[in-house]
Each structure stands twice: as C-alpha cells, then as structure tokens.
C-alpha cells in the first residue's frame, strides 16, 4: 500500500478524469447542437479555474489564504493583451506573461511571506488593491476602460494551427493548458519538496528541527501559485478580446476563494469543479434574475454548512478507501504470484 498522501493525490486524479469525461461529453453535445455560447462559457470557467487552482496551491497546500490572487491573474492578462496588440503571437504572449508573473510573484512573495495567517491575507489583499488602483489610473494601460482590441489569434501548435476565434478549438486548447498546469502542480506536491510544504502547513514549528528551511519552500509555493494564475490569466484576453482592471479587483480574488471552498480545499481538482459550478450558476441564475449574487450567496452558505469539505470532499473518502483496497488486492496478488514462482 502507498502513503495516504499518494492515495489522496490519486483520488484527485480520478476526479480530474471524471471532470474531463463530463467536459468532453458536454462539448460533444454543444458541437452537435451548434452551440458557441456554452463552449465559450466553459472556456471562461476553465480560465477562472486556473485562478482558483492558484488559490488552492496556497490555501490547500501552503496553508496560506490569499485574498489577492487575482493580482497575478490580472498581470498575466494585461501582459498578454499588451503583447498581442503589438505582435499577435500566442507563444510570445504566453512567454511574456510567464516571465512577468514570475518576477511579480517573487516580489510579492518577498513581501507577503514575512507574515502568516490573517496578516498574510490582508497583505495579499492590499498588494492586489494597490496594483489594481494603479492600473485603473494609468492611461497607458487603458485606465478604467482596460485594453480593448486584442486581435483574434491564430495559434500555431506544431502541425496544426488553431484559431482563438473558434470556440471548440480554443476550449480544447484551454483544457490542455489547464491539464498541464494541474499535472505539473500535482506532481510537485508528490515530490520530497511537496512533502515539506505539506508538513509546513501541518506543523510549521516542527519542520526546522528536521533540518528544513521554512522560508524557501513557502516562497517556491507562492511563486508557483503566481505562475499558475498568470499563465491562465494570459489566456483571458485571447478569449474575450479585452482586459479590464476589474480582473484584479477583490471580487475576482474572492470568487476564486469561493470556487476553491465550493470544490474542496486541498484537492487541486476541486478548484476546477468549483469554477465550473460557479461560472455556470452565475450565468444560469443571472439569466433569470438580476439578483443572482443573492442566490449565489445563499448557495455558498448552504454549501459550507452541508459540505464543509466541498464537492470533492463528499466523495473523496470513499474513493480513497476503494483505492486502498485496490492497492491491497494488487499487492496481495503480486506477492502470491512471486511466491508461486519462487
């Protein structure tokens, strides 16, 4: 049998596969029904899911509640938009967004990682607020209007070229980016480094006595989270054709936290479930009433009361037990097989 942390991560992968399955079925339906609205909505959900994933890296693994994670999402989006308006190159935009968020993440990490708990939440909130207001007041960045006129991209992917204007193609591209990010982050948390980060969340005071530096792993965790937000943020103007300072406002950061809590903190994949759920709820409820925020607030309250561990938390324990049983059976079978051979 494997370690619980490995079992837990494998369970997350199963939920990832389930979401993929559901997603692809929905896409097939959308294509069959000639829909573009829901495809684009799904793409947006995935992009916002990247921001939520970034929040979960910090909250679920680093034990750090960021109330300003939209800062990096916004930086990624703005850099991408700025590049694309000059040079319509997908790869250049992605590279620039990655580079700038890396830098911003390091600076932000140096500031925020000096404190913990409520102070961390407030500092991250403050940093995002400051940058958002600066952007809001900078004419070169479009001020309150944001940047419009991001051209529709042709994206060369080796053998094929996809258009960002093609809802299906861009959805699949976004799904691929999210898959890569999810896989990379999931991998990182199964390494010795990841174990130290998880240990820091569980019992920070004990970790230095085991010989581990506490600042370094936290810093890496913070920067990785910033990168995930920035990279998905870079996709945003490709989908919508514009960026606006609202992307960095507290509403965005707060929504991302809600998505993670709805989906399940510390599961990585919960962030994507939460993002899909919240995005579609907003759209559906919003089409019936202007007061959709009330409805969503009520749903959120009930979700916290009745599913404190989120959607994933409801089904995960039994899935983990199954995985453990499966492991035990395969182990037993292997021992039997090798025993018989011996």
């Amino acid at each position: 049998m494997r370690d619980r942390l490995d079992i837990s991560m494998r369970a997350n992968h199963v939920f990832f596969a389930v979401l993929m399955g559901i997603g692809l079925i929905c896409v097939a339906l959308a294509v069959a029904m000639n829909d573009t609205f829901y495809l684009r909505l799904g793409t947006e959900a995935l992009i916002l899911g990247g921001l939520a994933l970034s929040v979960d890296i910090l909250l679920g693994f680093g034990g750090l509640l960021s109330l300003g994670q939209a800062l990096y999402f916004g930086i990624g989006a703005y850099v991408s938009a700025l590049v694309l308006r000059e040079v319509p190159s997908f790869w250049l935009a992605m590279a620039a967004a990655t580079g700038v968020t890396l830098l911003a993440g390091i600076i932000g990490g140096l500031i925020a990682n000096r404190v913990r708990g409520v102070y961390f939440a407030l500092i991250t909130f403050g940093m995002a607020q400051v940058v958002a207001k600066v952007v809001y007041n900078t004419r070169e960045l479009g001020a309150s209007d944001g940047l419009i006129g991001v051209p529709v991209l042709e994206i060369p992917l080796g053998v094929i070229t996809v258009s960002a204007g093609d809802p299906l193609a861009f959805f699949l591209l976004t799904l691929s980016v999210l898959t890569i990010l999810y896989a990379a982050v999931a991998y990182l948390f199964t390494t010795p480094f990841g174990r130290v980060v998880i240990a820091l969340k569980a019992n920070e005071k004990r970790v230095p006595f085991l010989g581990y530096n506490t600042w370094g792993p936290r810093m890496v965790c913070y920067v990785v989270a910033a990168l995930v937000a920035g990279i998905t943020g870079a996709l945003y103007p490709m989908l919508r054709g514009f960026v606006s300072p609202e992307l960095m406002f507290f509403a965005s950061s707060g929504n991302a936290v809600i998505m993670v809590v709805l989906g399940g903190v510390g599961t990585l994949i919960g962030a994507l479930y939460g993002a899909v759920l919240l995005t579609f709820l907003k759209s559906v409820v919003g089409s019936y009433t202007e007061h959709h925020l009330i409805a969503i607030g009520v749903i959120f309250i009930f979700a916290i009361l009745f599913m404190p561990k989120g959607i994933i938390g409801v089904a995960k324990p039994s899935l983990e037990r199954r995985l453990i049983r499966f492991d035990e059976q395969t182990d037993a079978a292997r021992i039997k097989a090798t025993g018989e051979r011996a």
Partner: protein, 246 residues
C-alpha cells in the same frame, strides 16, 4: 575526551525570571548525559537554547567544538543535532510512514527535492530501518493522531534518529508512558549510544540512575550539581532541592 557539546554561561531571562542562569555544562561522546531538576527548573528552556529554538541572552553553545550559538534549528540539525519534544510534536494528520519519510528525506541531496519520491535509496532504507527498529510494522499507514500516547512518544524518538544525528536530545521521552513502554524505551536509549551521544531530560529517577553516565542537576535556572549518578545522589544540595520533593 573532547565533549560533543558544551555550553558556557548560557543564560536567558523571561521578564524578571532567570529561567536558565549561567549554565556551563558538557556532554561526552557516546555517553548519556542527563539533566534533572524539579518542575520549572529550566531544563526544557536549556534544551531550547541549545537546539536553536530560543536565542540565549548571553553565553555560548559549542557543538563538536564549533560555536553554534547563533545557529537556527535547521542549521543545527545540519551540524548534527536532533531533538525531541516534551509535548509530542509530530505531524498528526500524516501516517507513521509519512512522518518518518519526511524526517528521513533530509538524508538525500537537495537535487532530489523535485524528483519523484523514491521507493529505494537512502531515505527509503532509513524509513524501513526505523519501522523495523521501533516495531511500527502494523502501524505504518496509521495516522499519527490515532496512535496511543506511548506509540507517539516512540515515534518522536524515531523521527530524531532519521537524520543520523551526532547528538540526540530527548526531552522526557518516557513521559506518560506505561511501565512496559518505559522499560522498553530505557533499553532503547541505552542501545543508542553506539551511534549517538545523548542529552536526556528525565523525571523518573530509576531511569536516571540506571542509564546516565553523567547527571546535571538544575534548580531555579542554575546548575547545582554535576557528576556521576552516585555522586549526584549523595550531594546534599541535590537532596534538598530535588529528592527532597519526591
């Protein structure tokens, strides 16, 4: 023999309270040096000063002849020091093996930090060795929070051994243990001196007398006696301050 650890006039005060007051002491390699003293004598605080958990107000700490006074806990760990805690201090939501694995992976080079967790190699071997030695076979995948108190205390020691320290500091390892567990732990501690030097805090006088090579007695932050178990037992000041209470 050159001491593995020695302190010079180590002191710290909390407000007006001199919790550790000019303690000079040393520990000999491959011996068991035990710090005793009544409740509140300053034993744990002395451990905190030596292990980098607290910075001393004045005085020096030398590990293997090297001045480590300003070292933090992680640096001290790299210098060869490991400590356990009086109040069990583990990763309670993780399993026994995950705890041991976490402590053992320090043996592997930093370049392995973002490679897959290896099922073989030095850390994995150390984990297996500790599971064997501390008899955790049936509990490897148990969450530490669900272990019995005695098992948790045992794991606390195992965690310290994972990094193969030169000096092992144990703060009341048998605290709250059953008689059987206490006897077992006593045997274990004795057997460890082959590989490490031990600095021990212990309340059980029976254990102190049977395992210690050297005893240091603290009272109200100060060292009031220092010697072999027999010498210390015969010391009138110790009898007044310590044995008098029991």
């Amino acid at each position: 023999m050159k001491p593995i650890l020695h302190t010079e006039n180590l002191s710290i005060a909390f407000g007006g309270l001199k919790a550790v007051d000019a303690i000079s002491m040393s520990a000999t390699p491959h011996e068991i040096t035990t710090v005793i003293g009544p409740n509140g004598a300053g034993k744990t605080t002395l451990f905190n000063l030596i292990s980098g958990a607290l910075k001393p107000g004045s005085g020096k700490v030398y590990l293997d002849g090297k001045d480590v006074t300003r070292f933090g806990p992680a640096q001290l760990q790299h210098a060869g020091l490991a400590r356990s805690f009086q109040i069990t201090n583990l990763f309670f939501e993780m399993t026994v093996r995950e705890n041991l694995r976490l402590a053992s992976q320090i043996l592997e080079p930093i370049s392995h930090a973002v490679r897959p967790l290896r099922r073989t190699g030095r850390a994995a071997r150390k984990v297996d060795e500790l599971i064997e030695r501390f008899d955790f076979h049936d509990k490897v995948h148990e969450q530490v929070g669900y272990l019995s108190h005695g098992e948790q205390r045992r794991l606390e020691i195992a965690m310290c051994l994972a990094c193969e320290p030169k000096l092992l500091m144990l703060d009341e390892p048998t605290q709250g243990m059953s008689h059987a567990d206490t006897d077992e732990t006593e045997e274990l501690i004795k057997s460890l001196t082959q590989n490490v030097s031990i600095l021990l805090i212990e309340h059980d006088i029976g254990i102190v007398m049977s395992v210690s090579d050297h005893v240091i007695v603290m009272h109200q932050g100060q060292k009031i006696a220092d010697g072999t178990p027999a010498e210390v037992r015969a010391n009138p000041a110790v009898q007044a301050a310590y044995f008098g209470h029991g």
